[in-house]
């Protein structure tokens, strides 16, 4: 017997789910991605590097900031450019704005209906008008930051190799600064709401991987860390990754030393929860009081949803911290001059869905000669399939009536982006 869901709604991009049922157990669970191959790595090739971050931004409409800035950072590494501390603060703020917008979207529009067995978010909007308003306000806040610093709420315009083409207006930044407290309150209410949801009781041990900052819960810079305790540079970790094309869809599945792993909010939270801001840290009581220190706080993949809610609060707090630093810095330069040269550059950041790698090799005329991009979803699709097999084979699900809903729920808990996964 087979289970088939041809169209998985409420994920970014198109995909279906296919599996066999053998003696009641689920085998060969497959997520088949149905997005066309845009060949982004191929099309930036043999062209001028200047347009590369413009093109790669278009890999994804919901994490365009991460693609644009990771691309820029990799090219800066190729040319050995050091941006100013002030420009770095602005980039870090952009890297908070994106999870604010993306997580709020995923939490409310894509995931929440599953907990109430609604097929349509309009039912959710009707039932929870106050929560809806808060989500809209939080999303607007994230987008506003991107507009003020990046020039637009998507596919940023002011970001550039070497820093920023234009300084954000101080008046507008101040408005953001004074809006933080309200948004933070709203984010806490949202997180408390997600704390009370009934998450399926499920666990599986998966290797968790993410970028960990020196003294900060990092999205923009850091070193690679794994839940089994490895700590290594981005470069050596990247070398240990392998990509393999499937036989049935246009994605490549990524393994670390030949093994599956998971990235995203749940990985970051497990690896860096001691670095969360105070209000976000309070929300860890959800995981029980025993789980403190540097121990893993959860192995339940469904908690990726709650981890996003915690990050929402953390990011709102961090916007304020970083703006404080920005206002203190009275230096003027946001764009450094550089000399183009031949070289290669790699960068990794934390996009909302997990670690994102961009790699380029540029010749002395500024022409891109090599390009490789590894998005988060390509890294966790294997884990998602393994989770689906295990979860769906558990007794209470096996015989349950709404198995299809459970499949959707687990897929959405991962927050996959098939558009990125294919690119």
């Amino acid at each position: 017997m087979k289970i088939t869901i041809n169209h998985l709604a409420k994920i970014e991009g198109h995909a279906g789910f296919f599996a066999d049922i053998l003696n009641g157990d689920i085998k060969n669970a497959k997520i088949k991605v149905k997005v066309g191959a845009r060949l982004i790595e191929g099309i930036v090739l043999n062209r001028n590097y200047v347009e590369t971050p413009i093109v790669t931004s278009r890999i994804c409409g919901i994490c365009s900031v991460a693609h644009n800035l990771t691309s820029i950072k990799a090219l800066e590494n190729a040319f050995n450019i050091k941006i100013t501390p002030k420009a770095e603060i602005l980039r870090k703020i952009l890297f908070l704005a994106e999870p604010i917008q993306s997580h709020a979207t995923h939490l409310f529009f894509l995931s929440l209906s599953d907990f109430f067995k609604y097929d349509n978010d309009l039912d959710l909007i009707k039932k929870y008008p106050d929560l809806t308003k808060k989500i809209v306000s939080i999303r607007d806040f994230g987008n506003r930051i991107k507009e003020v610093i990046g020039g637009r709420d998507m596919h940023l315009l002011s970001t550039e190799i070497g820093g920023f083409r234009k300084e954000p207006e101080e008046k507008e930044l101040k408005k953001i600064y004074f809006a933080v407290d309200k948004v933070l309150e709203e984010a806490i209410v949202v997180a408390e709401f997600f704390k009370k949801l009934n998450y399926p009781d499920y666990e599986r041990k998966i290797e968790l991987v993410g970028l960990v900052g020196k003294n900060e819960y990092s999205f923009y810079k850091g070193e690679m860390k794994t839940s089994s305790g490895e700590k290594t540079s981005i470069k050596s970790f990247y070398k240990e990754l392998s990509e393999e094309q499937t036989n049935y869809d246009p994605t490549k599945r990524v393994k670390h030393k030949g093994r599956e792993f998971m990235v995203g909010a749940i990985a970051r939270l497990n690896l860096s929860h001691s670095l969360l801001n105070p209000e976000a840290k309070k929300l860890l009581d959800f995981f029980g009081s025993k789980k403190t220190g540097n121990a893993l706080i959860t192995k339940n993949t469904f908690h990726n949803i709650y981890a996003q809610a915690v990050e929402l609060v953390h990011c709102a707090e961090e916007v304020k911290n970083l703006l404080d630093n920005y206002f203190k810095d009275k230096s003027k330069i946001l764009l450094v001059k550089y000399r183009m040269r031949n070289g290669e550059g790699l960068a990794a950041t934390e996009a909302p869905r997990g670690t994102l790698y961009h790699y380029y090799k540029v010749d002395r005329y500024g022409i891109i000669r090599e390009c490789n991009i590894i998005p988060p979803t390509a890294q966790f699709l294997d884990s998602l399939e393994n989770d689906l097999e295990k979860y769906l084979s558990e007794a209470e699900i096996k015989n349950g009536e709404d198995r299809k809903r459970k499949i959707n729920m687990l897929v959405r808990a991962y927050d996959p982006c098939m558009t990125c996964a294919t690119h």
């Binding site: 845009r38 020039g151 246009p250």
Partner: protein
């Protein structure tokens, strides 16, 4: 009360950013849900089988057989189709591969070891496959413009975009002219309506909204000037960035 118009928001292959821009309408998104009867929108609801739509907003380019089939089905079912964003309108960044030699294989071979398994079609805008009624241009769309288009459709008016170049809004907004600074800006020949958002960030116009009037001799003249400025090769790369070269040079 008048019956609400049935709306579908659908996606071919692309970054899905234009759909995200619809979500980014914020409170106005809730208005859209009030004004229209939401048929399908995969960011917001499970898929439903529906036979008829009054309005279809479609983003992306058809890159797979399944894309093409679903586009043709949407045409059969829909009274009005709005091509949403540069991909649907002109081809988008993925169309860059059309402009390179050996496009069928070289790019796919670089990205995939089993490249024969990859559907690798020539990238075309929606209008090459089905009839399109209106366009909301831009990469991404200007969400305010799209909202106006939807409001017009809701009251039975034909949406129109004023035939003014990007320069018009740029000057209105008082941004410094990048062309005068010697940058290869396509503002004078590109359809406005974006509020010159790129110029606001001190970035020249790449023409993502397409030519203001494809037949105008001004386009040819301007491109000649840009060619003198940056050379033929770089001009081609600028025009190709959003898949618009074949739209500017007919």
């Amino acid at each position: 009360m008048k019956k609400k118009l049935k709306l579908v928001i659908a996606s071919m292959t692309c970054c899905e950013g234009c759909q995200v821009e619809i979500l980014n309408l914020g409170e106005r998104l809730l208005n859209i849900f009030e004004i229209f009867d939401l048929g399908n929108f995969s960011w917001v609801k499970e898929k439903e089988e529906i036979d008829y739509y009054d309005v279809a907003l479609i983003e992306g380019t058809p890159l797979t057989d399944e894309d093409i089939q679903s586009l043709k089905e949407l045409r059969k079912k829909s009274k009005i189709i709005v091509a949403m964003g540069t991909c649907a309108h002109l081809g988008g960044v993925q169309e860059i591969k059309n402009y390179t030699e050996n496009r069928k294989n070289e790019k796919a071979k670089y990205v995939y070891s089993k490249y024969q398994r990859i559907e690798n079609k020539v990238v075309v805008p929606l209008s090459k496959i089905v009839k399109i009624d209106y366009v909301a241009p831009g990469c991404p769309i200007n969400k305010d413009e799209l909202y106006n288009i939807l409001c017009d459709i809701a009251i039975g008016k034909s949406p129109k975009i004023a035939p003014r170049p990007v320069c018009f809004e740029c000057q209105n907004n008082g941004y410094p002219c990048l062309l005068q600074k010697g940058e290869p800006c396509l503002g004078p020949i590109t359809l406005g309506g974006c509020d010159a958002v790129c110029l606001k960030s001190n970035r020249f116009c790449y023409g993502c909204r397409g030519p203001i009037n494809a037949k105008s001799p001004i386009i040819k003249r301007h491109l000649e000037n840009i060619k003198k400025l940056v050379g033929e090769k770089y001009l081609a790369e600028i025009l190709e960035t959003f898949g618009a070269e074949d739209d500017f040079i007919k």
